[in-house]
Amino acid sequence: MANKDLVARLTDINKRIGYIPRGEVEKLAKELCLPAAKVFGAATFYSLFSTRPRGAHVVRFCQDAPCHVAGGRAVLDAIRTTLGLEPGQTSPDGRWTFEMTSCIGVCGVGPVIMVDDDVFGNVNPERVREILKNKN
């Protein structure tokens, strides 16, 4: 049982609300005539979807090898200490969510971080602090 529009519809909800709340899962299931479990299953499978509320800004750090060997570890530490968050956490004030991402395909300029939809390449700890400060 499937519906070819399911992933696209979930993408829309995730973009509109920032995450996929339970109520939306149930609504979409009804509309597409699918069991809610199927919809929820797809919502939890894809890493760009979240079923929990996220912060106003989502910071993503590329955790893959090309960025790692280009100095990614120091960048990761800088995000951790600047935001005071571990990967997967959202700050209590709802400002920030910190996530790890797999390769975003701009490895020529690694290490790379993403803040919301903006990609920043060739970052180092100082640049990270600057980028995050400017978002504040």
């Binding site: 299953g41 797809a42 499978f45 760009l48 060997v69 797999s102 490895c107 020529g108 939809d117």
Partner: protein, 594 residues
């Protein structure tokens, strides 16, 4: 289609930044000035975006001279038209003289490179189908549809020796032949643009720079085995590629290359774009199809192969972006032309992305069969900072690490397989002597255990167990028997997984164990990290040559360094977090890691 000739082309930047600075007014003034000076028929004005100096916009470039003008005002435009276009004199005061924007991903080719797939990237306007047509675009489609039978198309591709560029290297013509032999009303042609290998971005560049080559390849493929509906499955992490594809599809439809009765041949074909949502495993063909159908992107057992029962149970062919981009060239120039590049079994050129510790990172295109050494030292310009080469990782996270003594290995499907690695999609990560191979193996396992979809138990749990063992070894808690455990687990995962992800997941561990076993042994038995990377196995020490400048003590985030001014400082190992900041800030090389 003949194009009008102009003596000058002006590209005016109309992206959001420049529009916000008044670019549309500038364009209006420019056009009326050209009209007033009788130049409207001689000078062509094109809107473009991302010329690269938006901070000093509005901006425009005048060709053939290639002069960039910035900080444009209506008065400036009047002056430039009168001086530059009428009298041929560059107006220096508006000319941009700073550092030109460099394409850091795709540089000028070196001597050993051959640009075929990449020949149009960065040269044509990807958002204008006429640019593609002017470069022989869609000529192959016309030839295939109007002069060749479907079977002849398949034969030509078979003769060329083209093999899948997504990683597995299956002969493309053979795949199409299977699907052609299926008796079904409905067949599907899918372009796999779910490029997810860490470090690989060649498909993104083709989609962003030359999207029509992929569309043309898809239509020809569909014609060869009888599909009328195509899907492009592109990952959501590539928003610009998605945008260029959408524009390309719209323009191709307007020009009659997509839709009903293409070029009057009676053949119908159209394409739909589908986006992923962040799941690496969806690059696997059966998982990809599940995702298009709106399910969790989990692989399923094969057979039946997609060519027999694929999308919605219908015969389906899935080809990678680069495979499809090769097709128009093969049809237009012939199989023999394609076969001039490469080796007997691995023909043609292939794009690779270079990352890591080399002087020139980025995208390259080389004939298959070039050696790894030639890539590292000739094409990539050798190791950064004069350090020594240690290993090259080919084939992405399911590939293997190849050591210095095997640098003569040719880059082709069979040779890479023989040394325990794979071609994969073409990501190359070069590592210098400062890299710990156990740490690297840990790194790749971290990736695969995270991206394992969870369907096959050996992959889901086995990769996790391998990661835990590697984490222990890196932390200095390795035990006797760990190496054997890693080998056994790897074997079970390879045997017990359905798709390429699980079957390839242990490759980084197996190849590092094979070629760098001594590093594992040093970690486990001597509690020592030879590359001095693993934090649990290193310590920092300040030498007697320390002049006592206090810089390290001030910069230490955990206040582990004590000492008075002009006296040798000391690191407290209990407080030290081994971050290495002290060593990087010391101007006297008085701090060592051991």
């Amino acid at each position: 289609m003949p194009r009008d000739f102009y003596r000058s082309h002006i590209l005016i930047c109309a992206d959001p930044e420049c529009l916000a600075k008044g670019a549309s007014d500038i364009e209006t003034v420019l056009e009326s000035e050209l009209e007033a000076n009788g130049l409207a028929d001689e000078v062509n004005v094109l809107e473009t975006s991302r010329l690269g100096h938006c901070s000093v916009g509005p901006e425009m470039v005048i060709y053939p001279e290639g002069v960039t003008y910035v900080n444009l005002t209506p008065a400036a435009v009047k002056e430039i038209v009168a001086e530059h276009l009428l009298k041929g004199r560059v107006v220096k005061k508006y000319q941009f003289t700073g550092q030109a924007r460099k394409d850091e991903e795709l540089r000028a080719p070196t001597a050993k490179e051959v640009r075929v797939i990449m020949s149009r990237c960065g040269v044509i306007d990807p958002e204008n189908i006429e640019d593609y047509i002017a470069e022989d675009g869609y000529a192959a489609l016309a030839k295939a549809l109007l002069e060749m039978k479907p079977r002849e198309v398949i034969d030509e591709v078979l003769r060329s020796g083209l093999r899948g560029r997504g990683g597995a290297g299956f002969p493309t013509g053979k795949k199409w032949e299977f699907a052609a032999g299926q008796n079904s009303e409905q067949k599907y042609m899918i372009c796999n643009a779910d490029e997810g290998d860490p470090g690989a971005f060649m498909n993104r560049r083709v989609l962003e720079g030359d999207p029509h080559s992929v569309l043309e390849g898809m239509i020809i493929a569909g014609y060869s085995f009888g599909a009328h509906q195509g899907y492009i499955y592109c990952r959501a992490e590539y928003p610009i590629a998605v945008r260029t594809l959408r524009i390309a599809m719209r323009q191709a439809r307007l020009m009659g290359f997509l839709g009903k009765d293409i070029l009057g041949s009676g053949f119908d074909f159209d394409v739909e774009l589908r986006m992923g949502a962040g799941a690496f495993v969806c690059g696997e063909e059966t998982a990809l199809m599940a995702s298009i159908e709106g399910k969790r992107g989990e692989p399923r057992p094969r057979p039946p192969f997609p060519a027999v029962a694929g999308l919605w149970g219908k015969p389906t062919i899935i080809n990678n972006v680069e495979t499809l981009a090769n097709v128009p060239n093969i049809i237009r120039n012939g199989a023999a032309w394609f076969a001039q590049y490469g080796t007997e079994k691995s023909r043609g050129t292939k794009t690779f992305t270079l990352a890591g510790d080399v002087n020139r990172t980025g995208l390259i295109e080389v004939p298959l069969g070039i050696t790894l050494g030639e890539v590292v030292f000739d094409v990539a310009g050798g190791i950064k900072g004069g350090k020594r080469f240690k290993a090259i990782q080919t084939g992405g996270p399911m590939g293997g690490c190849i050591p210095e003594q095997l640098l003569e290995t040719p880059l082709d499907y069979e040779s890479l397989g023989a040394v325990g690695s794979i071609m994969g999609s073409g990501g190359l990560v070069v590592m210098d002597e400062g890299t710990c191979m156990v740490d690297i193996a840990r790194f790749f396992m971290d990736f695969t255990q995270d991206e394992s979809c969870g369907k096959c138990v050996p992959c889901r749990i086995g990769t996790r167990r391998i990661l835990e063992i590697l984490e222990r070894i890196c932390a200095g808690e390795g035990e006797d028997g760990d190496i054997e455990r890693l080998e056994a687990l790897s074997k079970y995962i390879v045997q017990g997984s359905l798709c390429g992800l699980g079957q390839g997941a242990p490759n980084p561990v197996l190849t590092t164990l094979k070629h760098f076993r001594h590093e594992y042994e040093a970690h486990i038995y001597e509690k020592r990290c030879p590359a001095k990377v693993c934090k649990g196995l290193i310590s920092y020490r300040i030498l007697d040559t320390c002049p006592g400048c206090m810089v390290c003590a001030r910069n230490c985030p955990s206040n582990a360094i004590t000492g008075e001014k002009q006296k040798v400082h000391v690191i407290n190992p209990d407080l030290c977090e081994r971050c290495g900041i002290c060593m990087s800030v010391c101007k006297f090389d008085a701090i060592v890691v051991e």
